[in-house]
Symmetry: C2
DNA sequence: GTGAAAGCGCTAACAT
DNA sequence: ATGTTAGCGCTTTCAC
């Protein structure tokens, strides 16, 4: 019942434990016949090397730690799925640490700083206690976390957040460009009076998306009317409130023909408000969102939005992590990857004649 | 730069490594002053015991392996969140292995059997390679997986699936009772002509839910008209098709006043069909679903459904795992926990006068 | 090409 | 109450 060890294999195959180790790891040439003998014994016995012992010796656990801000929040699972997809092709494993931050800071997007200690304790446990080889930090919304994560002398990749810390790489989606494309899509469909419902105005994604929107307007020689902008807070209720306000302050003539909400939740809130005002999407007002959350395919009509390739973000983060760890050795330098997004056209945009 | 070890602490505190170990683990009494000296050095140096070395010695890694069929599927994250919630109060950690089964077997709910090898390889790696102390298997839909998981002489807890294997505990939600409650809710609102859209008819949850539905009918001295039953496949499109068929085979008089779909996806499909038929939910037909997926709160009108307490399922699974592992020692015997669910009343059920 | 043996950082007899 | 030390299962240096 006691698990079988390298010693057992060695005895059974009539070689030394060193030789068994050589064939398992291919770390030194071994005579073909001995090699075969060892291999046979291994497969006959279903021997599984003890990774714990190996780790102690090599000081590498082959474990990637995932430090997730909150696994329940929108981007996290998609990103973890991408990480898994890459990782399962390697011999690394995933140690998951969920910070469960959502409870403690609902919509207090700034307070994260105050969680610094909690985060670094977890990080430090992961690295010094569990001895993971690298960590991927998965944010729950894009923001700048420069200065939050201490330098632990092992690769840290931040996904879905940015950092300008020297020791950190990041991978994100392209807020600005995709906002431009989304806006362009509206403009191409003949919309000129476009209202915008922003996310929390001081947050990075809100600013980048606004920049992207402005660019599309400029390209088309249009100007974004500042009276058509409302500041939401990323939540559905704020989308509703902003839209209601927009509706109340519009006459038949000044009604926007389209509303761009900076995420799906607010877009759906806007759709709620439009429905309550007895107006129709997209016949009376077109609506577009951002994120392509599951729900955007379930509202009626189905929401046109931009899809963030979370899987690619995770995949890329995992790839960078393993690259930095081993193989190439050629010092992969600190990089900040941007994964492109794409507009998903569904049923909430009308073509204006 | 080389990490600090128990030896360093011992030297610094002027005691033996054994003593340091004793104070860290409380495994033997230590003189208060020495104790304090050790503690001081530890906190001054931020010493983190090397879990790898400890594991090698004690043959316990303090890691719980999660073997998830697919992290992207509906119940998985909720359950993992529950596991995390419990685990973070202990000194265990989570090693996550996502089987990513969804791709390979979309809606082929039987084929899982053929994945047996893949599953057991992962299981065996987790247990014999990574040396996790226990594993929690997270299914992506309720079914019986008796005979799938080999006995690895460590606790295995199955969440969101059942098994009658001796060595396995399981924790699930209460399909039958919640179906009864949901049906009762319809009946209490005056509905008698109730149509049912089932999930794949041969699957366990479909059968249990049907049983629960029948019980509610019986209680109310009603009979479930077999011409009002349609077999779906758990997907939205099948809900649409079933509802369309129901509508086409009904006259004004035989139209059901309510439709119970065995999950939210099919309920939403049914709502789509009702809308396409220019009928209104709930004025013309009431609709209820099952699962309380996110989307059920985003469709219009908001869907009445039954909420499965995924967090409690995960929490309970983690609790059983740690119980079986340690502490009480009093051989927690193989149990099969059932977590109650509850009906979430929203806007899709009309009260009939 | 192969084996003997040291040692990774810790715990737990065992001795004192 | 505390220290000495063997040993967990592996890799790797060094000698042959």
């Amino acid at each position: 019942m006691t698990p079988i060890t390298i010693k057992d294999i060695a005895r059974e195959a009539g070689v030394s434990t060193a030789t068994v180790s050589y064939v398992i790891n291919g770390s030194k040439p071994v005579m073909p016949e001995k090699r075969q003998r060892v291999l046979d014994v291994i497969s006959k016995t279903n021997y599984q090397p003890n990774r714990v012992a190996k780790s102690l010796r090599t000081k590498k656990t082959n474990i990637i730690g995932i430090l997730a801000e909150d696994i329940l929040e929108f981007p996290t699972v998609g990103i973890i799925n991408g990480i898994s997809e890459y990782i399962e092709k390697t011999d690394y494993n995933i140690l998951l640490n969920d910070l469960r931050m959502l409870d403690s800071l609902f919509n207090q997007y700034d307070q994260i700083i105050h969680q610094k200690d909690k985060i670094n304790n977890a990080l430090s446990f992961l690295v010094f206690g569990a001895k993971v080889d690298a960590v991927i930090y998965v944010g729950m919304f894009n923001r700048d976390i420069t200065g939050i994560l201490s330098n632990i002398n092992k690769p840290i990749i931040v996904a879905y957040s940015t950092s300008s810390d020297e020791h950190i790489c990041s991978v994100n989606h392209d807020n600005e460009n995709s906002a431009t494309e989304l806006t362009r899509h509206l403009i191409e469909n003949g919309h000129k009076r476009i209202a915008v419902i922003t996310g929390l105005a001081h947050t990075a994604p809100a600013q980048m998306r606004l920049k992207g929107i402005n660019r599309a307007f400029k390209e088309a020689n249009l100007v974004l009317d500042s009276t058509m902008i409302r500041n939401g807070d990323w939540e559905r209720a704020s989308g509703y409130a902003c839209m209601k306000d927009l509706l109340e302050h519009s006459t038949r003539d000044t009604l926007p023909t389209a509303v761009l909400a900076m995420n799906d939740l607010m877009a759906i809130g806007a759709m709620d408000a439009i429905r309550d005002a007895k107006l129709k999407v997209p016949e009376d007002i077109s609506v577009v969102g951002f994120d392509n959350r599951n729900v955007s395919n379930f509202v009626f009509p189905k929401l046109t939005t931009v899809e963030i390739d979370l899987e690619a973000i995770g995949y890329s983060a995992a790839k960078i992590a393993t690259q930095k760890l081993g193989g190439a050795e050629g010092h992969v330098d600190s990089q900040n990857i941007i994964i492109p997004s794409k507009v998903i056209m569904r049923d909430t945009v009308a073509r204006l004649k």
